[in-house]
């Protein structure tokens, strides 16, 4: 058997490092794509002591009604489909029809300031994961109780 030279061995080490770096990159990118849908868009328009509303659309399939979850002060409150009438979203060419709005009735809260976040639910292609993507920016409001 031909003797392996130190130079060839060092090249093997470098090659191994490059393959592993590429592998980690592919896995990281694959994981991002599996857990994130860059085509989910929306906005949290308004939040007060009565209602919380906005809209959400999957640009990849804008006929689909996406599910949204409401969190107040980082506590889960409710999940519902974004299927309320929002003709303005359609008119702005953000959706193919008028029915992509969401409206939550604000629950009874302790007096003081509260933070509202709404997330769109995203299921991975293999259905092994469900992840949340925030809609717009969090909003804060004061409850008078």
């Amino acid at each position: 058997m031909r003797r392996l030279s130190r130079g060839t061995f060092a090249q093997l080490l470098i090659g191994k490092s490059i393959i592993e770096a590429l592998l980690v990159t592919v896995v990281a990118a694959g994981l991002f794509l599996a857990t994130t849908n860059p085509k989910l868009h929306g906005w949290l328009d308004q939040a007060d002591a009565q209602t919380i509303s906005g809209w959400a659309v999957d640009d990849g399939n804008s006929a689909r009604r996406v599910d949204v979850q409401l969190f107040i002060d980082d506590k889960f409150i409710e999940q519902r489909a974004a299927n309320e009438l929002r003709p303005d979203v359609h008119q702005a060419n953000r959706a193919q029809d008028d029915w992509h709005g969401f409206v939550f009735k604000t629950p009874t809260l302790a007096a003081g300031e509260h933070e509202v976040k709404v997330y769109v639910l995203h299921s991975s292609t293999s259905a092994t994961r469900r992840t949340l993507q925030i809609v717009g920016n969090p909003l804060r409001f004061r409850s008078g109780l």
């Binding site: 392996l4 130190r6 130079g7 060092a10 592998l23 599996a34």
Partner: protein
Amino acid sequence: MTVTSPLNIGDSAAPLEEHTVELSDRALAGWEIASVASSVVIAEWMAASAAGLSKAIIAIPIALAVLLIIMSHRLRRESLRDIGFRLDNFFKALSLLALPVAVTALLCLGIGWRLGTPINFFRWHPGRFLVLQLALGFAWALAQQYVLQGFLNRRAMIAAGRGWPSVLIVGALFGLLHLPNPWVTVITLMAGLIWAAIYQRVPNLFAVAITHSLMTWFVVSTLPPSALNHLRVGIGYFF
């Protein structure tokens, strides 16, 4: 006099000064350790992350590490006997390992008793016959000890010299590769130190693997299952 870089990889036949050759060898051994350890880390931490793709993807870093180890043995002209696949020193190695194993067993019993854990010697994969599980445990232990002692320990001896520095490297590596499981990390750190020290005195992988399997059996049978979390390591610890 030939001027060479510390790691002259381009021309192995070039005359080198003695101190340059030594440094080159140490650097290469350190690089080999880092490379194999990084493959194990990638495999351990990628498995669940890549579940959306395919878990078979972890075979890639493992295969690369195995290839590297085999090539390294060829480069350094190490025989199976050198590595520790031998029987002539089996009983000598086993006699050196007997005391640490006995102390570990008593320690496990004591900790289990102190924590009120029910001791059950059939808890390690209860769906399998114990003899089969011990045999499988031995095979897995032999594979681990081959990489840990037969490769990493031998390279650590080149990189840091025989004795405590290299023993510490091997023990620390073995412990760190069992993160983030805190109990298993501590246990493997200590066991890794003992095995590495004894392997340096009497290199026999069969004796080390037998005690590895026995100690795993004792640990699983006596320590709280909730703390051991099925001996899961890497990202799998969280799932």
